[in-house]
Amino acid sequence: MMPESHDKDVDQAFHAILEEATRRRREFKESALPKIHIGMATCGIASGALETQSAFEAALAERGISALIHPMGCIGHCYAEPVVIVENPGFPPILYYKVTPGKARMIVKSYLEEGDPLFEYLLGAMEENELIPSVADFPRFNQEKRVVTEKCGLIDPEDIYDYIAEGGYAALAKALGQAPEQIIREIIDSGLRGRGGAGFPTGQKWVLAKKAGSAEKIVICNADEGDPGAYMDRTILESNPHQVLEGMALCAYAVGAREGIIYVRAEYPLAVKILTRAIAQAKELGFLGKNILGSPFDLEMELFQGSGAFVCGEETALIQSIEGNRGMPRHRPPYPVEKGLRGLPTVINNVKTFASIPAVLTRGASWYKNIGTEKSPGTAIFSVVGNVVHPGLVEVPTGVTLKTLILGICGGIPNKKRFKAVQIGGPSGGCLPEDFLATPIDFDSLTEAGAMMGSGGMVVMDEDTCMVDVALYFLDFTQKESCGKCTFCRIGTFHLLRILERITHGEGREGDLEQLEQLSVRIKEGSLCGLGKTAPNPVLTSLRYFREEYEAHIKEKRCPSCMCRALTAYYIDLEKCSRGCDACVGSCPVEAIFTTEDRKKAVDQTLCVKCGECMVACPVEYSAVKRVSPPHLAPVIERPQENQG
């Protein structure tokens, strides 16, 4: 396909860049100075990484110590943010967690100056050694299999050389010497399935795009991560943007596209900033733009900021949005691979799919195929949040069970509570109860159980979570996000929401559950796009597995988890309340707590807004604040006359 001479040019061009990257890396590695790597993705910054960085800088200056401060992306351990890795010559690299400015100063003083690694602040060493326990001993580290997020949190996302030194862009350089068909073949053989949720075989999509007869073709990266509670795409873009760019370039080369667009949420300002910079750097070194690495292949890359509409995750809606219209999906076929943006063949893949491509091509299809299960090979990335000890981003081979992931890797449920359910796949997914913990994580098993892989959001819920309320929450979301095109989705979700609202307010009626089920099935059948087709899933799965909770709400006007506020009351157990203690009074935002005649406290039910602050404020030794459902079970205590007003 490609003349020999280009191969040589490409090789030479890449070799020169690689040499420069290796030289810079060597210089950094061999420097005798201590190195401080600080996690600077959005979650790190939200936890105070900027303050930590200034504290390090101030402490270093104060003590006259020289050290290299190296900002990096996110390693996915959100519970531990801000995360800092310190490399002090003579010691293995050490990972410190929750590094506050105070701890930062201590690390500089005790570790860098005096050589005491401060065992009480460290999580572990990054390498095996005899001195300090290694992080590899923790399930949170050793049970993960990192393919897509392998370099996340270990390289500087704003420095392209950091990525190249770790083997980046080698796959692209190699591919440019191969026939596009060969690359597509490799992707097909790897069995890679689209990570956007539906799991369509990526190679097959590319074949269709390759076949489409058009001189102009477009590649779009879908980074419109709208699922509330999922942030894998954001983390990848913020921590390793070049891996995504390389994946897109490989795809463009394989299918014959010369234009690339990254559709990223405007709500991710840091990702937008880092991507813009990454594109500029890649252009400068010749990985994007005209004549990539001296070959005849051109690729112009652009960024389009999505304006926050969940439905734009659907590919035809996304195209509408880029064209300047309301993001409303259209009927398929024709599929975007035949007729997409501006009527041109368009390949749309998710961030995680593109980020997998360089790894697949570098290590080969058979390597990738051997990870995980046969039908869904590779890894799955989840953002595990909610009531779990170690929330964060986890990448595991497919086929790992939910139990291993939630109770093992993520440390289980905090506060000695019981696991109740896990919500997988966001507003399109479902809630699975304890019985399903043995379910292996792959596209087909999760769909069979009623949930779906979806975008990868996973919210763990403990016994205090009301499943009706969770269903209501998701319906509220999808109802607002429904674009309004299909009647069943537009009006159906509205009615589902109204029924659920009634139930949680204690106004449920006989026959409501049947109506919920009927309506759900109709919405699924009568909607065009994935949003409507999956919107009733949270209702259907919670009805399937937690029907008795719905029944308690309707028949007994009781919320078994005491979460639905209309069906719950807070009261203070006078037996346990201590005279003279005022802890709850100050915590109440509406002054609903008063002093009884024998100088104990009680709740004025007419004022109480049921926020639960008093329960938190009440000292553990008394634990006098109680929650009951239905609310009439709370004892009625009259406010003494002189206290009124």
Binding site: T42, C43, I45, A46, S47, C78, Y79, E81, G226, D227, P228, G229, A230, Y231, R234, A266, E267, Y268, F304, Q305, S307, G308, A309, F310, S321, I322, E323, G324, N325, R326, G327, S383, V385, G386, N387, P391, G392, Q423, G426, G457, V459, M461, T465, V470, Y473, F474, F477, C483, S587, P589, V590, V609, C611, G612, E613, V616
Partner: protein
């Protein structure tokens, strides 16, 4: 609570004249529209540009955009109102965004929103009369491990609680009073 905050209404400074403010926006937008091609595909980037510089989309700006792209203003509104990003009223000086993503919801984000609403006497989507605060609910800011989360201005506040809501607003009020006092003292200091 509602009244206690309302008191500050009278303090509202009179130096920002809404008419001249709009005029400035119109002028700025007119200048920048030239950088955008006259095609429908520019619509969303243009709206984002206006909102980024002026924090909201005034009606006059929408009209300009419509003229530039040769669309009816209703078409521009049709697109702008479809997306959650765009707002049509100026936000407060301290815009408060309460995250109601799944993780925040499970951990009581709704209660946090309610507390802000009660404390400031406005509903979500509104701005206080003195233009100090505005409240907005957002779907997910992507800091789920810190749930419940509220973003005030640019700063993310994790692990929110009703008492923290009170503390935050009190902090701003004290700050404002302090600045006012300093200004008064400064003014008085100059003979």
């Amino acid at each position: 609570m509602r009244e206690s905050y309302g008191l500050q209404l009278e303090e509202k400074s009179m130096n920002d004249d809404p008419a001249s403010e709009i005029e400035a926006i119109v002028q700025d937008v007119t200048g920048r529209l030239r950088d955008f091609e006259k095609e429908k595909g520019s619509l969303i980037p243009i709206l984002q540009m206006i909102q980024q510089s002026h924090a909201y989309l005034p009606h006059e700006a929408i009209q300009l955009v419509a003229d530039h792209l040769e669309l009816a203003p209703c078409e521009v509104y049709g697109v702008a109102t479809f997306y959650n990003q765009f707002r049509f009223h100026p936000p407060g000086k301290h815009p408060i965004k309460v995250c109601l993503g799944t993780a925040c919801h499970v951990r009581g984000g709704g209660i946090i929103l309610e507390n802000f609403e009660r404390k400031l006497g406005i509903k979500d989507g509104e701005t206080t009369a003195d233009k100090e605060f505005s409240i907005e609910r957002v779907a997910c800011v992507g800091c789920c491990a810190l749930a419940p989360v509220a973003v005030v201005g640019e700063q993310v506040h994790g692990h929110m609680a009703p008492s923290k809501v009170e503390g935050l607003i009190l902090g701003f009020e004290i700050d404002k009073q302090k600045k006012k006092r300093e200004k008064d003292e400064h003014d008085a200091g100059i003979p």
